[in-house]
């Protein structure tokens, strides 16, 4: 993770390569996950982020190592962009004890204390109150940290969304709410689930600052996230960032996608955040074709190593079934 300070992204060649590499890492990792799912190496639900990579990568550029992240069940991209090793994430998908959650969580429950990554929460809307609480703790402890909470537009219909928005605004807590609006809550289109489809307007009801950004443009997301985080760190309370984006693949691996047309999907694929950014950077001479090739080969090697790590991982002994339900207590 690069940790540039300040409210504006500095698009030097190193940073351009970094942004592209992060998005490519997520894309190739998930393509491999889909393949491994068909081989039954990965089981359960698998929710892919393909198409939405610019959001996690862009927002993470604005965060510092001691900020907190709360994410959803579609969080592989956030985990990788946050800096959790690809090997431990892949091992988690396998359910191996070398996984970042010791294999207990799987695809939907990636956690990592070292990077303050608080899940991997698979109850829609359920992560938002946790982010409010993390921010409340920071406030009470006098720590100048930000809690960033990612959720989809489907969560906006949940009561927990509204309760959390109100609490964060009422108490002026340092929460960055990031709504990744990919237009479908599983298979239900936005206009079928919301009376107000311009989602960022909902922040106004809580007197919370908000911004809409093109979630297919990593630079725009980074810039917006930097503005938002700067406002939060300046003590202006929470900020609501709506990223308009699109999921290229099915909701999960069990989805026949009856609810949207192929034409629509194809139209959005023309806005692929990776292709778009690559073409722009090549045209602006911020990137050389050789850079792209190097990134692809580095990422391919990283993905292969992650698969090897997961394959070499071990199954937790069944005797340990009930560990980590309670914190072990010192014998009294």
């Amino acid at each position: 993770m690069t940790a540039q300070q300040g409210a504006k992204p500095r698009l030097d060649r190193a940073h351009v390569r970094h942004l592209l590499a992060q998005m490519v890492r997520i894309r190739r990792f998930e393509e491999k996950c889909a393949e491994l799912y068909t081989q039954e190496k990965i089981r359960g639900f698998l929710h892919l982020y393909v198409g939405e990579e610019a959001n996690a990568v862009g927002v993470m550029q604005a965060l510092q190592p001691d900020d907190a992240i709360v994410a959803t069940y579609r969080e592989h991209g956030h985990a990788l962009a946050r800096g959790i090793g690809m090997g431990p994430v892949m091992a988690e998908m396998y359910g191996k004890q070398e996984g970042c959650s010791r294999g207990r969580g799987g695809s939907m429950h990636i956690f990592d204390a070292a990077t303050r990554f608080y899940g991997g929460n698979a109850i829609v809307g359920g992560g938002l109150p946790l982010a409010v609480g993390l921010a409340l703790a920071d406030r009470m402890r006098g720590l100048p940290r930000v809690s960033a909470c990612f959720f989809g537009e489907g969560a906006v219909a949940e009561g927990e969304f509204h309760e959390s928005m109100n609490l964060a605004a009422l108490w002026r807590l340092p929460v960055l709410f990031v709504c990744e609006n990919n237009l479908y809550a599983m298979g239900t289109a936005l206009e079928l689930s919301e009376s107000e489809t311009d989602i960022h307007l909902k922040a106004q009801a809580y007197r919370m600052a908000s911004e809409v950004v093109d979630g297919m443009d990593v630079v725009a997301v980074e810039a917006a996230a930097r503005r938002a985080v700067a406002a939060i760190r300046a003590g202006n309370g929470p900020f609501f960032l709506e990223c308009r984006t699109y999921r290229f693949r099915a909701h999960s691996m069990f989805d026949a996608q009856l609810y949207r047309s192929k034409d629509e999907i194809e139209a959005w694929k023309h806005r692929c955040p990776i292709e778009r950014f690559t073409n722009w950077a090549l045209g602006a001479n911020e990137l050389h074709p050789q850079d792209v090739a190097t990134i692809e080969s580095d990422v391919a090697a990283e993905v292969a190593a992650a698969v090897d790590f997961a394959e070499a991982g071990t199954w937790e002994p069944v005797e340990d079934l009930c560990r980590d339900v309670y914190t072990p207590r010192a014998a009294s």
Binding site: I123, L130, L134, L136, M140, T327
Partner: protein, 329 residues
């Protein structure tokens, strides 16, 4: 030597416990609906706002899922929150956060994050508050691995369980029966933390084990007193902790008395009493001289009129009758 006793109430004992915790540990704060300016819906936190200020005695909007979830998040963020929910019926609005977040995150994260939150709430019937404020749903929480559930039934436990719960690295739920808040009695002036692991024998006896907790303890003790007048020596066990259950104390008692009656203000079907009864059958079957008896609430939402509310709950005569049935006399 024990210190001199003072006269106090259950409400004052809980308040003293909160005050002491706030004084001892700056990470502790109280959060909930009307805990500050109003003084708590059962007046438990009355006066604490003036003492500790609005940051630490934090009034919340009516957002159970929001503020209970925020308590869980704050606990992960290094604080030691005491979250008050008005009544267990309202806690259904934050069941998601308690079940899906507080109880699971330690496990889902492979042990990386503990949740040292304490969630207190009132439970139980008896104040004619009808069917949305009167139930005893602690059994629902006692079903859930990952949390600890306690039910103080005495002044000493009302005073002492909170600090121990706050020291616990995992989520602890404290159920305070509404009929106990006005209970007064003597408490040692230096009363402090107590364990939250073991059941307590509140009255020793040899003929039958009466197993209960919370708001039914006083009724069960009254029943034991009445039985003693007829020459029946009932032992009364106060469970104190509903999860994990202290099997050892229960089985040791039933092994001696060979008869057991469980008194539980929850509904009979799927009750804590059913769980305890099963455990007794599993572990003490060959010691039993009689079927395990149960006195539970009637299978009805708690009604408003006093005579019907009384009829719905375990009462002294029904406990006496169940004990006599176990003894066959």
């Amino acid at each position: 030597m024990s210190s001199p006793a003072v006269t106090t109430t259950y409400r004052e004992a809980v308040r003293a416990a909160i005050r002491e915790a706030m004084q001892r540990d700056e990470r502790v704060f109280l959060m909930g609906e009307d805990v500050g300016r109003y003084g708590g819906c059962y007046a438990v936190s009355k006066g604490l706002l003036d003492e500790f200020g609005p940051e630490r005695i934090r009034d919340t909007p009516l957002s159970e899922a929001g503020f209970v979830g925020a308590g869980i998040g704050a606990a992960m963020g290094g604080m030691r929150p005491i979250v008050e929910v008005m009544t267990v019926n309202f806690s259904m609005l934050c069941l998601d956060q308690i079940l899906n977040s507080a109880a699971t995150i330690r496990h889902m994260s492979g042990g990386q994050f503990s949740i040292p939150v304490v969630i207190r709430m009132a439970t139980g019937a008896g104040r004619q508050l009808a069917a949305q404020h009167s139930h005893s749903l602690e059994n629902i929480y006692a079903h859930i691995p990952g949390i600890r559930v306690v039910a103080p039934a005495t002044l000493a436990d009302a005073r002492g369980m909170l600090w121990t719960a706050l020291e616990d690295p995992d989520p602890v739920m404290i159920f305070e029966n509404v009929m106990l808040y006005n209970m007064s009695g003597e408490l040692a002036a230096d009363a402090g933390a107590v364990d939250i692991d073991r059941a307590a024998i509140r009255r020793p006896g040899r003929d039958v084990s009466l197993i209960t907790y919370g708001g039914s303890l006083a009724k069960t003790l009254a029943a034991a007193e009445q039985l003693a007048g007829d020459g029946i020596e009932a032992e009364v066990i106060d469970l104190r902790t509903l999860r994990p259950l202290d099997d050892a104390t229960i089985m040791e008692s039933v092994g001696r008395t060979r008869r057991a009656v469980i008194v539980d203000e929850g509904w009979r079907t799927g009750s804590l009493a059913a769980e305890i009864g099963s455990r007794i059958v599993e572990q003490c079957f060959w010691s039993l001289d009689a079927p395990v008896g149960r006195v539970c609430s009637a299978e009805v939402p708690i009604p408003y009129p006093k005579h019907l509310e009384d009829a719905a709950l375990p009462q002294v005569p029904s406990i006496v009758a169940a004990a006599r049935a176990a003894l066959g006399r």
